[in-house]
Protein backbone atom coordinates (compact mmCIF):
# COMPACT_ATOMS: atom_id res chain seq x y z
CA UNK A 1 0.00 0.00 0.00
CA UNK A 2 1.43 3.41 -0.89
CA UNK A 3 1.51 6.26 1.57
CA UNK A 4 -1.07 8.16 -0.46
CA UNK A 5 -3.48 5.26 -0.46
CA UNK A 6 -3.02 4.75 3.23
CA UNK A 7 -3.63 8.43 3.93
CA UNK A 8 -6.85 8.41 1.89
CA UNK A 9 -7.99 5.29 3.66
CA UNK A 10 -7.24 6.92 7.00
CA UNK A 11 -9.25 10.01 6.23
CA UNK A 12 -12.20 7.96 5.07
CA UNK A 13 -12.06 5.78 8.14
CA UNK A 14 -11.85 8.86 10.32
CA UNK A 15 -14.86 10.39 8.59
CA UNK A 16 -16.96 7.34 9.27
CA UNK A 17 -16.36 7.78 12.99
CA UNK A 18 -17.50 11.37 13.22
CA UNK A 19 -20.66 13.19 12.35
CA UNK A 20 -20.59 14.29 8.72
CA UNK A 21 -19.85 17.96 8.33
CA UNK A 22 -18.00 18.35 11.62
CA UNK A 23 -14.24 18.71 11.65
CA UNK A 24 -12.53 15.38 12.16
CA UNK A 25 -9.28 16.68 13.56
CA UNK A 26 -8.69 18.77 16.64
CA UNK A 27 -7.23 22.28 16.55
CA UNK A 28 -3.56 21.35 17.03
CA UNK A 29 -3.93 18.67 14.41
CA UNK A 30 -5.38 21.07 11.86
CA UNK A 31 -2.41 23.34 12.39
CA UNK A 32 0.11 20.56 11.87
CA UNK A 33 -1.55 18.11 9.47
CA UNK A 34 -2.10 14.74 11.09
CA UNK A 35 -2.18 14.75 14.88
CA UNK A 36 1.05 13.35 16.31
CA UNK A 37 1.32 10.88 19.14
CA UNK A 38 4.75 10.10 20.51
CA UNK A 39 5.37 7.16 22.80
CA UNK A 40 8.42 6.76 25.01
CA UNK A 41 9.25 3.14 25.79
CA UNK A 42 8.64 0.02 23.70
CA UNK A 43 7.61 -2.40 26.44
CA UNK A 44 4.20 -3.86 27.25
CA UNK A 45 2.66 -0.42 27.88
CA UNK A 46 4.29 1.62 25.13
CA UNK A 47 4.26 -0.90 22.28
CA UNK A 48 0.64 -1.86 23.00
CA UNK A 49 -0.45 1.79 22.96
CA UNK A 50 1.48 2.44 19.72
CA UNK A 51 -0.06 -0.52 17.95
CA UNK A 52 -3.60 0.16 19.13
CA UNK A 53 -3.53 3.87 18.27
CA UNK A 54 -2.14 3.13 14.80
CA UNK A 55 -4.55 0.26 14.15
CA UNK A 56 -7.71 1.87 15.47
CA UNK A 57 -7.07 5.26 13.85
CA UNK A 58 -6.40 3.71 10.44
CA UNK A 59 -3.58 6.11 9.70
CA UNK A 60 -5.39 9.26 10.86
CA UNK A 61 -2.80 9.68 13.65
CA UNK A 62 0.94 9.86 13.16
CA UNK A 63 2.40 7.43 15.75
CA UNK A 64 6.09 7.43 16.72
CA UNK A 65 7.54 4.97 19.22
CA UNK A 66 10.90 5.89 20.77
CA UNK A 67 12.77 2.88 22.15
CA UNK A 68 16.57 2.58 22.34
CA UNK A 69 16.71 -1.23 22.06
CA UNK A 70 16.17 -3.05 18.77
CA UNK A 71 14.86 -6.11 20.57
CA UNK A 72 12.88 -6.29 23.79
CA UNK A 73 13.37 -9.06 26.34
CA UNK A 74 10.38 -9.50 28.59
CA UNK A 75 10.77 -9.35 32.34
CA UNK A 76 7.60 -11.41 32.59
CA UNK A 77 8.46 -15.10 32.18
CA UNK A 78 12.15 -14.36 32.87
CA UNK A 79 11.79 -16.42 36.06
CA UNK A 80 11.00 -19.40 33.82
CA UNK A 81 14.36 -18.78 32.14
CA UNK A 82 15.94 -18.75 35.63
CA UNK A 83 14.27 -22.10 36.35
CA UNK A 84 15.34 -23.60 33.00
CA UNK A 85 11.79 -23.81 31.61
CA UNK A 86 12.43 -21.29 28.79
CA UNK A 87 15.47 -20.20 26.85
CA UNK A 88 16.48 -16.56 26.74
CA UNK A 89 15.69 -16.22 23.04
CA UNK A 90 12.06 -17.17 23.65
CA UNK A 91 11.68 -14.02 25.77
CA UNK A 92 13.05 -11.69 23.09
CA UNK A 93 10.88 -9.85 20.57
CA UNK A 94 11.54 -7.36 17.77
CA UNK A 95 9.57 -4.41 16.42
CA UNK A 96 9.08 -5.57 12.81
CA UNK A 97 5.34 -6.08 13.22
CA UNK A 98 4.95 -2.89 15.21
CA UNK A 99 6.41 -1.09 12.17
CA UNK A 100 4.18 -3.03 9.79
CA UNK A 101 1.24 -1.89 11.90
CA UNK A 102 1.90 1.71 10.85
CA UNK A 103 4.10 2.86 13.77
CA UNK A 104 7.32 4.79 13.17
CA UNK A 105 9.85 3.11 15.45
CA UNK A 106 12.82 5.29 16.36
CA UNK A 107 15.64 3.36 18.02
CA UNK A 108 17.04 6.19 20.07
CA UNK A 109 17.13 7.15 23.74
CA UNK A 110 14.61 9.80 24.71
CA UNK A 111 16.79 12.18 26.74
CA UNK A 112 14.17 14.63 28.00
CA UNK A 113 10.66 15.98 27.58
CA UNK A 114 10.16 19.67 26.82
CA UNK A 115 6.60 20.01 28.09
CA UNK A 116 6.32 23.71 27.15
CA UNK A 117 7.28 23.11 23.53
CA UNK A 118 5.53 19.71 23.50
CA UNK A 119 8.51 17.85 22.15
CA UNK A 120 10.73 14.94 23.09
CA UNK A 121 14.46 15.59 22.87
CA UNK A 122 16.47 12.58 21.74
CA UNK A 123 19.93 11.69 23.09
CA UNK A 124 21.43 12.70 19.73
CA UNK A 125 19.78 16.12 19.96
CA UNK A 126 16.89 15.44 17.57
CA UNK A 127 13.46 16.74 18.55
CA UNK A 128 10.18 14.91 18.11
CA UNK A 129 7.08 17.13 18.48
CA UNK A 130 3.84 15.72 19.82
CA UNK A 131 0.19 16.61 20.29
CA UNK A 132 -0.12 13.82 22.86
CA UNK A 133 2.74 12.00 24.58
CA UNK A 134 2.49 8.61 26.22
CA UNK A 135 5.29 7.86 28.68
CA UNK A 136 5.96 4.20 29.50
CA UNK A 137 9.55 4.02 30.78
CA UNK A 138 8.96 1.29 33.35
CA UNK A 139 10.98 1.35 36.55
CA UNK A 140 14.45 2.38 37.57
CA UNK A 141 16.24 0.60 40.40
CA UNK A 142 16.84 2.68 43.54
CA UNK A 143 20.29 1.32 44.24
CA UNK A 144 20.70 3.48 47.34
CA UNK A 145 17.69 1.89 49.06
CA UNK A 146 19.95 -0.99 50.21
CA UNK A 147 23.07 0.30 52.03
CA UNK A 148 26.23 -0.73 50.19
CA UNK A 149 24.40 -1.59 46.99
CA UNK A 150 25.14 0.23 43.72
CA UNK A 151 25.09 -0.26 39.97
CA UNK A 152 28.63 -1.59 40.26
CA UNK A 153 27.69 -3.93 43.13
CA UNK A 154 24.92 -5.30 40.90
CA UNK A 155 27.66 -6.83 38.71
CA UNK A 156 28.46 -9.11 41.66
CA UNK A 157 25.06 -9.22 43.36
CA UNK A 158 22.57 -9.01 40.50
CA UNK A 159 19.10 -7.55 40.91
CA UNK A 160 17.92 -9.03 37.60
CA UNK A 161 14.77 -6.91 37.96
CA UNK A 162 15.21 -5.36 34.54
CA UNK A 163 15.55 -7.79 31.66
CA UNK A 164 18.82 -8.40 29.83
CA UNK A 165 22.40 -8.87 31.02
CA UNK A 166 21.36 -8.84 34.69
CA UNK A 167 19.04 -11.83 34.23
CA UNK A 168 21.75 -13.72 32.34
CA UNK A 169 24.27 -12.96 35.09
CA UNK A 170 21.89 -14.29 37.73
CA UNK A 171 21.41 -17.53 35.79
CA UNK A 172 25.18 -17.99 35.33
CA UNK A 173 25.72 -17.55 39.07
CA UNK A 174 22.87 -19.91 39.89
CA UNK A 175 24.19 -22.59 37.59
CA UNK A 176 27.70 -22.28 39.07
CA UNK A 177 26.55 -23.10 42.61
CA UNK A 178 27.83 -26.19 44.41
CA UNK A 179 25.91 -28.30 46.91
CA UNK A 180 25.98 -26.56 50.26
CA UNK A 181 26.18 -23.06 48.80
CA UNK A 182 23.70 -20.59 50.21
CA UNK A 183 21.47 -18.14 48.34
CA UNK A 184 20.20 -14.93 49.93
CA UNK A 185 17.53 -12.77 48.31
CA UNK A 186 16.76 -9.29 49.56
CA UNK A 187 13.13 -8.73 48.56
CA UNK A 188 11.84 -5.25 47.66
CA UNK A 189 9.50 -2.97 49.62
CA UNK A 190 6.10 -2.03 48.13
CA UNK A 191 5.30 -0.81 45.56
CA UNK A 192 7.44 -2.65 43.03
CA UNK A 193 7.29 -4.37 39.65
CA UNK A 194 5.63 -7.81 39.69
CA UNK A 195 4.45 -8.43 43.29
CA UNK A 196 4.69 -12.26 43.16
CA UNK A 197 7.93 -12.13 41.13
CA UNK A 198 10.51 -12.45 43.96
CA UNK A 199 8.70 -15.48 45.38
CA UNK A 200 8.34 -17.17 42.01
CA UNK A 201 12.05 -16.53 41.49
CA UNK A 202 12.92 -18.18 44.79
CA UNK A 203 10.75 -21.14 43.74
CA UNK A 204 12.81 -21.36 40.55
CA UNK A 205 16.08 -21.21 42.53
CA UNK A 206 14.83 -24.10 44.68
CA UNK A 207 13.75 -26.04 41.61
CA UNK A 208 17.24 -25.73 40.09
CA UNK A 209 18.90 -26.85 43.35
CA UNK A 210 16.52 -29.81 43.59
CA UNK A 211 17.09 -30.78 39.97
CA UNK A 212 20.85 -30.77 40.55
CA UNK A 213 20.29 -33.17 43.44
CA UNK A 214 21.68 -30.75 46.02
CA UNK A 215 20.94 -31.73 49.62
CA UNK A 216 22.71 -29.06 51.65
CA UNK A 217 22.00 -25.75 49.89
CA UNK A 218 19.53 -23.34 51.48
CA UNK A 219 17.76 -20.14 50.40
CA UNK A 220 17.05 -17.21 52.74
CA UNK A 221 14.65 -14.43 51.79
CA UNK A 222 15.15 -11.21 53.75
CA UNK A 223 11.92 -9.32 53.29
CA UNK A 224 11.19 -5.74 54.35
CA UNK A 225 7.46 -6.60 54.14
CA UNK A 226 5.40 -8.46 56.77
CA UNK A 227 3.41 -10.31 54.07
CA UNK A 228 3.64 -10.93 50.32
CA UNK A 229 1.57 -11.75 47.24
CA UNK A 230 0.01 -15.23 47.05
CA UNK A 231 1.78 -16.03 50.33
CA UNK A 232 -0.57 -18.87 51.32
CA UNK A 233 -0.03 -20.86 48.14
CA UNK A 234 3.68 -20.09 47.86
CA UNK A 235 4.23 -21.26 51.45
CA UNK A 236 2.23 -24.42 50.78
CA UNK A 237 4.17 -25.09 47.57
CA UNK A 238 7.55 -24.57 49.23
CA UNK A 239 6.68 -27.05 52.00
CA UNK A 240 5.47 -29.55 49.44
CA UNK A 241 8.22 -29.33 46.83
CA UNK A 242 11.22 -27.94 48.71
CA UNK A 243 10.83 -28.86 52.40
CA UNK A 244 13.43 -27.17 54.62
CA UNK A 245 15.09 -25.39 51.68
CA UNK A 246 13.48 -21.92 51.75
CA UNK A 247 13.45 -19.71 54.81
CA UNK A 248 11.39 -16.52 54.54
CA UNK A 249 12.18 -13.86 57.13
CA UNK A 250 9.93 -10.88 57.74
CA UNK A 251 11.26 -7.80 59.60
CA UNK A 252 10.37 -9.28 62.99
CA UNK A 253 12.68 -12.21 62.28
CA UNK A 254 15.68 -10.48 60.66
CA UNK A 255 15.30 -7.28 62.67
CA UNK A 256 16.18 -5.03 59.73
CA UNK A 257 18.34 -5.32 56.60
CA UNK A 258 21.55 -3.44 57.38
CA UNK A 259 23.16 -3.70 53.96
CA UNK A 260 25.46 -5.57 51.62
CA UNK A 261 29.17 -5.50 50.86
CA UNK A 262 29.93 -6.43 47.27
CA UNK A 263 33.67 -6.78 47.99
CA UNK A 264 33.31 -9.33 50.78
CA UNK A 265 30.02 -10.78 49.50
CA UNK A 266 28.39 -10.22 52.87
CA UNK A 267 24.76 -9.45 53.69
CA UNK A 268 24.04 -8.03 57.13
CA UNK A 269 20.82 -7.94 59.10
CA UNK A 270 20.24 -6.78 62.63
CA UNK A 271 20.79 -10.31 63.92
CA UNK A 272 22.96 -12.18 61.41
CA UNK A 273 25.85 -11.82 58.96
CA UNK A 274 25.49 -13.96 55.87
CA UNK A 275 28.19 -14.79 53.33
CA UNK A 276 26.23 -16.57 50.61
CA UNK A 277 27.55 -17.78 47.25
CA UNK A 278 24.70 -16.02 45.46
CA UNK A 279 23.09 -12.76 46.53
CA UNK A 280 20.05 -11.46 44.64
CA UNK A 281 19.29 -7.91 45.75
CA UNK A 282 15.95 -6.54 44.58
CA UNK A 283 15.96 -2.93 45.80
CA UNK A 284 13.15 -0.37 45.97
CA UNK A 285 12.12 1.11 42.62
CA UNK A 286 10.70 4.27 41.11
CA UNK A 287 9.48 5.52 37.73
CA UNK A 288 11.99 5.68 34.88
CA UNK A 289 14.31 8.70 34.90
CA UNK A 290 12.70 10.53 32.01
CA UNK A 291 9.38 10.68 33.86
CA UNK A 292 11.05 11.91 37.05
CA UNK A 293 13.11 14.54 35.19
CA UNK A 294 9.97 15.81 33.43
CA UNK A 295 8.25 16.42 36.77
CA UNK A 296 5.62 13.75 36.16
CA UNK A 297 6.24 11.96 39.47
CA UNK A 298 5.16 12.86 43.00
CA UNK A 299 6.80 12.16 46.35
CA UNK A 300 6.28 8.40 45.89
CA UNK A 301 8.62 8.37 42.88
CA UNK A 302 5.80 7.25 40.59
CA UNK A 303 3.44 9.20 38.30
CA UNK A 304 -0.06 10.18 39.45
CA UNK A 305 -2.70 9.63 36.77
CA UNK A 306 -6.39 10.20 36.19
CA UNK A 307 -8.06 6.84 36.83
CA UNK A 308 -10.49 7.13 33.91
CA UNK A 309 -7.86 7.83 31.23
CA UNK A 310 -4.29 7.18 32.46
CA UNK A 311 -3.66 10.86 31.80
CA UNK A 312 -1.02 12.58 33.93
CA UNK A 313 -2.55 14.74 36.65
CA UNK A 314 0.18 17.33 36.06
CA UNK A 315 0.09 17.64 32.24
CA UNK A 316 -3.08 17.16 30.14
CA UNK A 317 -1.07 16.31 27.01
CA UNK A 318 0.78 13.42 28.65
CA UNK A 319 -0.39 9.91 29.53
CA UNK A 320 1.55 7.45 31.69
CA UNK A 321 0.97 3.70 31.62
CA UNK A 322 2.63 0.68 33.14
CA UNK A 323 5.00 0.35 36.07
CA UNK A 324 5.81 4.09 36.15
CA UNK A 325 2.20 5.02 36.92
CA UNK A 326 0.29 5.06 40.21
CA UNK A 327 -2.56 2.84 39.10
CA UNK A 328 -4.42 2.46 42.39
CA UNK A 329 -5.04 -1.18 43.26
CA UNK A 330 -3.56 -2.52 40.00
CA UNK A 331 -0.22 -4.27 40.47
CA UNK A 332 2.78 -3.29 38.39
CA UNK A 333 2.71 -6.00 35.74
CA UNK A 334 2.94 -6.41 31.98
CA UNK A 335 -0.72 -7.41 31.94
CA UNK A 336 -1.66 -4.20 33.79
CA UNK A 337 0.49 -2.10 31.44
CA UNK A 338 -1.09 -3.70 28.39
CA UNK A 339 -4.57 -3.09 29.82
CA UNK A 340 -3.84 0.53 30.78
CA UNK A 341 -2.34 1.18 27.33
CA UNK A 342 -5.62 0.25 25.65
CA UNK A 343 -7.56 2.71 27.78
CA UNK A 344 -5.00 5.46 27.11
CA UNK A 345 -5.02 4.64 23.38
CA UNK A 346 -8.82 4.91 23.28
CA UNK A 347 -8.81 8.28 25.08
CA UNK A 348 -5.95 9.70 22.99
CA UNK A 349 -7.72 8.69 19.80
CA UNK A 350 -10.98 10.23 21.01
CA UNK A 351 -9.24 13.50 21.85
CA UNK A 352 -7.39 13.75 18.55
CA UNK A 353 -9.86 12.37 16.03
CA UNK A 354 -13.22 12.80 17.81
CA UNK A 355 -13.77 9.05 17.79
CA UNK A 356 -16.06 7.70 20.52
CA UNK A 357 -14.80 7.51 24.06
CA UNK A 358 -15.77 4.59 26.26
CA UNK A 359 -15.58 3.89 30.00
CA UNK A 360 -12.17 2.77 31.25
CA UNK A 361 -11.96 -0.97 31.88
CA UNK A 362 -8.83 -2.54 33.28
CA UNK A 363 -7.82 -6.09 34.11
CA UNK A 364 -4.87 -8.13 35.29
CA UNK A 365 -3.85 -11.73 35.93
CA UNK A 366 -0.46 -12.85 37.25
CA UNK A 367 0.58 -16.49 36.99
CA UNK A 368 3.45 -17.86 39.08
CA UNK A 369 5.22 -21.19 38.71
CA UNK A 370 6.16 -22.85 42.00
CA UNK A 371 7.42 -26.17 40.61
CA UNK A 372 6.96 -28.09 37.34
CA UNK A 373 3.23 -28.10 36.50
CA UNK A 374 2.35 -26.38 39.78
CA UNK A 375 1.24 -22.89 38.81
CA UNK A 376 -0.88 -20.42 40.80
CA UNK A 377 -2.62 -17.26 39.71
CA UNK A 378 -4.14 -14.06 41.03
CA UNK A 379 -6.27 -11.59 39.09
CA UNK A 380 -8.90 -8.90 39.10
CA UNK A 381 -11.01 -6.53 37.06
CA UNK A 382 -10.53 -2.85 37.81
CA UNK A 383 -12.46 0.35 37.24
CA UNK A 384 -12.15 4.00 38.22
CA UNK A 385 -14.07 4.66 41.45
CA UNK A 386 -14.00 8.13 43.05
CA UNK A 387 -10.84 9.05 41.16
CA UNK A 388 -8.82 5.92 41.93
CA UNK A 389 -8.48 2.59 40.13
CA UNK A 390 -10.17 -0.04 42.28
CA UNK A 391 -10.71 -3.79 41.95
CA UNK A 392 -14.31 -4.71 41.15
CA UNK A 393 -13.88 -8.47 41.33
CA UNK A 394 -10.88 -10.57 42.28
CA UNK A 395 -9.66 -14.15 42.53
CA UNK A 396 -6.59 -15.95 43.86
CA UNK A 397 -5.49 -19.59 43.83
CA UNK A 398 -6.28 -21.50 47.00
CA UNK A 399 -4.40 -24.04 49.07
CA UNK A 400 -5.15 -27.73 48.44
CA UNK A 401 -6.11 -27.28 44.80
CA UNK A 402 -5.82 -30.34 42.56
CA UNK A 403 -2.64 -31.09 40.65
CA UNK A 404 -4.70 -31.07 37.44
CA UNK A 405 -5.88 -27.52 38.06
CA UNK A 406 -2.34 -26.32 38.80
CA UNK A 407 -1.08 -28.01 35.63
CA UNK A 408 -3.88 -26.38 33.65
CA UNK A 409 -2.82 -23.02 35.13
CA UNK A 410 0.70 -23.57 33.81
CA UNK A 411 -0.51 -24.41 30.32
CA UNK A 412 -2.76 -21.37 30.44
CA UNK A 413 0.18 -19.14 31.44
CA UNK A 414 2.24 -20.38 28.50
CA UNK A 415 -0.65 -19.69 26.12
CA UNK A 416 -1.16 -16.30 27.77
CA UNK A 417 2.48 -15.45 27.05
CA UNK A 418 1.92 -16.19 23.36
CA UNK A 419 -1.24 -14.10 23.40
CA UNK A 420 0.04 -11.04 25.19
CA UNK A 421 3.35 -10.87 23.34
CA UNK A 422 1.40 -11.04 20.06
CA UNK A 423 -0.87 -8.28 21.38
CA UNK A 424 2.13 -6.11 22.35
CA UNK A 425 4.56 -6.74 19.51
CA UNK A 426 2.29 -8.05 16.74
Amino acid sequence: MTNITRRHFGIMAGASLSTLGLPILSAPALAQGKPRVVIIGGGPGGATAARYIAKESNGAIDVTLIEPLKTFTTCFFSNLYVGGFRDYKSLTHNYDKVRKGGVKVVHSMAASIDRDKKQVVLAGGGKVPYDRLLVAPGIDIRFDSVPGYSEKAAEVMPHAWKPGAQTQLLVRKLNALKDGDQIVMIAPPNPYRCPPGPYERVSMFAHVLKKKGFKKSRIVILDPKPTFSKQAVFSEGWEKHYPGIIEWQDPKIHGGIKGVDAKTGEVKTDFTNYKPALVNVIPAQHAGKIARDAGLTNQTGYCPIDAASMKSTVDPNIFIVGDASIAGEMPKSAFSANSQAKVAAMVIRAELTKSRAFPARYSNTCWSLIAPDDDVKVGASYEPVDGAIKASSTFVSQRNESADLRKQNYKESVDWYKGITADIFG
Binding site: N338, S363, G379, F395, D415, K418, D423
Partner: protein, 92 residues
Amino acid sequence: MALGLLAPVAQSADVEYGRYLSSECTTCHGASKADSTIPNIHGLGESHIAEVIKAYRTKALPNPVMQTIAARLGDDEIAALAAYFATAKRPK
Protein backbone atom coordinates in the same frame (compact mmCIF):
# COMPACT_ATOMS: atom_id res chain seq x y z
CA MET B 1 -35.51 -21.64 19.33
CA ALA B 2 -33.48 -19.32 21.49
CA LEU B 3 -31.12 -18.70 18.60
CA GLY B 4 -33.89 -17.13 16.54
CA LEU B 5 -35.02 -14.95 19.43
CA LEU B 6 -31.51 -13.60 19.93
CA ALA B 7 -31.25 -12.23 16.42
CA PRO B 8 -33.19 -8.96 16.89
CA VAL B 9 -31.19 -8.17 20.04
CA ALA B 10 -27.96 -8.79 18.17
CA GLN B 11 -28.94 -6.39 15.39
CA SER B 12 -29.12 -3.55 17.89
CA ALA B 13 -25.82 -4.46 19.53
CA ASP B 14 -23.26 -1.68 19.73
CA VAL B 15 -20.49 -3.23 17.63
CA GLU B 16 -18.14 -0.27 18.06
CA TYR B 17 -18.39 -0.60 21.83
CA GLY B 18 -17.86 -4.33 21.39
CA ARG B 19 -14.68 -3.61 19.44
CA TYR B 20 -13.35 -1.53 22.34
CA LEU B 21 -14.37 -4.11 24.94
CA SER B 22 -12.76 -6.84 22.83
CA SER B 23 -9.31 -5.38 23.49
CA GLU B 24 -9.53 -6.91 26.96
CA CYS B 25 -10.06 -10.32 25.34
CA THR B 26 -7.30 -10.11 22.75
CA THR B 27 -4.64 -9.84 25.46
CA CYS B 28 -4.99 -13.60 25.82
CA HIS B 29 -7.10 -14.77 22.87
CA GLY B 30 -5.23 -13.06 20.03
CA ALA B 31 -2.69 -15.76 19.21
CA SER B 32 -4.69 -18.89 19.98
CA LYS B 33 -3.84 -22.03 18.08
CA ALA B 34 -5.98 -25.15 17.88
CA ASP B 35 -4.27 -26.84 20.84
CA SER B 36 -4.33 -23.75 23.06
CA THR B 37 -5.93 -23.72 26.51
CA ILE B 38 -7.11 -20.23 25.51
CA PRO B 39 -9.37 -20.77 22.50
CA ASN B 40 -9.71 -18.57 19.46
CA ILE B 41 -12.94 -16.61 19.76
CA HIS B 42 -12.81 -14.64 16.51
CA GLY B 43 -15.52 -15.54 14.02
CA LEU B 44 -17.54 -17.70 16.40
CA GLY B 45 -21.34 -17.64 16.27
CA GLU B 46 -22.83 -14.62 17.98
CA SER B 47 -25.28 -16.50 20.18
CA HIS B 48 -22.61 -19.05 21.12
CA ILE B 49 -20.21 -16.32 22.33
CA ALA B 50 -22.97 -14.66 24.35
CA GLU B 51 -24.02 -17.95 25.94
CA VAL B 52 -20.46 -18.84 26.93
CA ILE B 53 -19.75 -15.43 28.48
CA LYS B 54 -23.03 -15.63 30.41
CA ALA B 55 -22.10 -19.10 31.63
CA TYR B 56 -18.85 -17.68 33.02
CA ARG B 57 -20.81 -14.83 34.60
CA THR B 58 -23.01 -17.27 36.52
CA LYS B 59 -19.92 -19.41 37.25
CA ALA B 60 -21.50 -22.35 35.44
CA LEU B 61 -18.15 -22.54 33.62
CA PRO B 62 -15.11 -22.86 35.89
CA ASN B 63 -12.13 -20.65 34.94
CA PRO B 64 -11.69 -17.79 37.51
CA VAL B 65 -9.98 -15.53 34.94
CA MET B 66 -13.02 -15.70 32.70
CA GLN B 67 -15.46 -15.55 35.64
CA THR B 68 -13.81 -12.33 36.80
CA ILE B 69 -13.91 -10.77 33.35
CA ALA B 70 -17.53 -11.80 32.77
CA ALA B 71 -18.65 -10.65 36.25
CA ARG B 72 -18.80 -6.99 35.30
CA LEU B 73 -20.28 -7.37 31.82
CA GLY B 74 -23.91 -6.34 31.44
CA ASP B 75 -26.22 -7.99 28.89
CA ASP B 76 -25.72 -5.10 26.46
CA GLU B 77 -21.97 -5.42 26.75
CA ILE B 78 -22.09 -9.16 26.17
CA ALA B 79 -24.27 -8.55 23.11
CA ALA B 80 -21.81 -5.92 21.88
CA LEU B 81 -18.86 -8.29 22.32
CA ALA B 82 -20.66 -11.19 20.67
CA ALA B 83 -21.68 -9.04 17.68
CA TYR B 84 -18.10 -7.81 17.29
CA PHE B 85 -16.38 -11.20 17.60
CA ALA B 86 -18.86 -12.90 15.27
CA THR B 87 -17.45 -10.93 12.35
CA ALA B 88 -13.92 -10.23 13.61
CA LYS B 89 -10.86 -11.88 12.17
CA ARG B 90 -8.05 -13.06 14.40
CA PRO B 91 -5.23 -10.48 14.50
CA LYS B 92 -2.32 -11.25 12.17
